[in-house]
């Protein structure tokens, strides 16, 4: 696995609420909160359904497929990303109807395009955390 960041980067710290997400991530599975009352997903993790106000939520594994809604090329790196030079951050719209902010892996400034097809991939940060990223689903990019 190609390491993206140093230990000086901000690593996610799971909470009681989010531990199931990171447990699934360890097995390279992307899970998103699902609200059976409205048959819809919500992201980022919350204690209640923002549509019904009920605490009736489930974690569901999703395909990890999505499209690029927008992106920015980071010229001034965040802490821990200094070795990456210029890198891309994307807002990715998953096929289950939520958007997730992510590092874009292996996509160049020349090839990035709003609407491009993406899939989830993982960077192992330590024994506890696999961090999600997205990469191109099209071949040759």
């Amino acid at each position: 696995m190609n390491q993206i960041r140093h230990k000086s980067a901000i690593f996610p710290k799971p909470s009681i609420l989010t531990q199931p997400f990171w447990n699934a991530a360890k097995e390279k599975k992307l899970v998103i909160q699902y609200d059976p009352d409205t048959d819809s997903y919500q992201w980022w993790p919350k204690s209640i359904s923002i549509k019904t106000g009920k605490m009736n939520l489930q974690w569901r594994e999703v395909s990890g497929f999505g499209t690029l809604y927008s992106y920015t090329v980071t010229h001034v790196p965040a802490h821990g990303f200094e070795d990456k030079g210029q890198y891309l951050i994307g807002l990715v719209e998953l096929d289950v109807g939520v958007r997730i902010l992510s590092f874009l892996s292996g996509i160049s400034q020349e090839n990035v395009k709003i609407g491009m097809h993406l899939r989830v991939t993982w960077e192992q940060l330590n024994d506890e955390i696999n961090m999600f990223m997205f990469e191109s689903r099209d071949t040759g990019i």
């Binding site: 090329v73 010229h75 001034v76 790196p77 821990g80 902010l101």
Partner: protein
């Protein structure tokens, strides 16, 4: 929501105060607040014991202190019967004008000192929990510039963005900063549209000259009932006549159009409450953390149609000499952003202009001013809070 408690001009702003903006001043927000408090009291011939209401912003520099407002009034010798800390970022100062007005009209207090103070270039104390430290920062996104880079690219996907229009706005505001003795001194040199276009990328397509820079500084107002203002024989008075605010706009959608902001609600609503249209507005003092935010406000408040912000800016004189002066004191982008006191910078400039005290950059038509606020970077959206205040003479 269309009930307008401000319409009858029962509330008056009778004084403004402001420090010069500095980088790494070494001063605490309490010291900067004292400077503004002293100016406000001196201008109104009031003493600390005459102030019975106090409103302020949360700070970046002393936010680790959960009792900031209490420490602040103790340091100023003020005994408020109504004390308010507002934490909606850049919306806090104009939000506090509305909150103070409501408190005065409800009889909770009579004379409010509004102080906006912060010194983030000397000390930063913030630490974000929740989604920000777990799902936003670990991606490597570069804070607010990253969020606005995403927003700009989405705008470009939807509409025609002419960068020279943003450059024109940068140049006009810089001219204001040169004429503003309180602006950060090292910014008081002229720039050209080419300088804007050639400034280095931070989080592309967002450039350095699209962006604010943290400074230390404070600003404030005295707000009271119009009847009390007359008793105090206040020589100058302006009236907040309309205010609208929204936080967490479009929250029900997991996939909203991020180009559409809360201003599409609060802009038209604030105008309707004041029985005004955009053509009635004499000057516009929009919250300016990034230039694109000002263009989105022009479009969504209704000065022009969505997507036509570039041409709107290119077609008119937006300096203090023009038909719609914008951020005549340089705004935060050219005068400097005093952290979470920043929303007060353009507020005080609006009041100063309406008092006819803006010196070389004085605008001619001062019947009213529109001032706005933007607060907080949420997750994968544009911004958290949007607010609009209209002041009339």
């Amino acid at each position: 929501m269309n009930q307008n408690f401000l319409k009858s001009k029962d509330i008056a702003i009778i004084a403004y105060g402001e420090t010069k903006l500095e980088r790494r001043s070494g001063k605490s927000p309490y010291e900067l607040a004292a400077q503004v408090a002293s100016e406000l009291l001196s201008k109104t011939n009031l003493r600390p014991q005459d102030i019975d209401g106090f409103a302020t912003n949360n700070t970046l520099s002393d936010c680790s202190n959960p009792f900031y407002s209490n420490f602040c009034v103790e340091s100023l010798g003020i005994t408020p019967r109504w004390l308010q800390t507002t934490d909606i970022g850049g919306c806090s100062p104009i939000g506090n004008v509305a909150r103070a007005s409501a408190a005065i009209m409800a009889g909770m207090c009579e004379v409010v000192m509004l102080i906006n103070s912060d010194s983030p270039s000397t000390k930063l104390g913030q630490s974000y929990g929740g989604f920000r430290s777990e799902f936003l920062e670990p991606t490597g996104i570069q804070g607010p510039p990253g969020a606005f880079g995403l927003l700009m690219n989405r705008y470009i996907e939807k509409y025609d963005l002419k960068f020279e229009a943003l450059g024109k706005l940068a140049v006009a505001q810089r001219e204001g900063a040169i004429l503003n003795p309180n602006a950060y001194e090292k910014n008081r040199f002229s720039i050209s549209i080419e300088d804007y276009l050639n400034s280095r990328m931070v989080s592309s397509p967002l450039r350095l000259l699209d962006s604010v820079m943290f400074c230390d500084g404070a600003n404030g107002l005295i707000i009271t009932s119009t009847s009390k203002a007359r008793k105090l024989k206040s020589k100058k008075m302006v009236y907040p006549v309309s205010y609208s605010e929204i936080t967490n706009f479009n929250s029900m959608s997991m996939t909203p159009d991020i180009v559409e902001t809360g201003f599409s609600v609060v802009g038209p609503e604030a105008l309707e409450k004041a029985s005004m249209s955009t053509s009635d507005i004499c000057m516009f003092h929009p919250y300016d953390d990034f230039l694109i935010a000002e263009m989105l406000q022009l479009e969504q408040i209704g000065f022009c149609r969505p997507g036509e912000g570039s041409d709107f800016l290119l077609d008119r004189d937006i300096s203090y000499r023009g038909g719609l002066p914008i951020n005549t004191g340089g705004g935060q982008i050219s005068a400097g952003q005093p952290g979470l006191a920043g929303g007060g910078l353009n507020l005080v400039e609006g009041v100063r202009q309406m008092f006819g005290e803006a010196g070389q950059r004085q605008v001619k038509k001062t019947d009213n001013a529109m001032v706005t606020g933007i607060g907080v970077i949420p997750y994968g959206r544009n911004w958290g809070s949007s607010s609009v205040l209209i002041i009339e003479s």
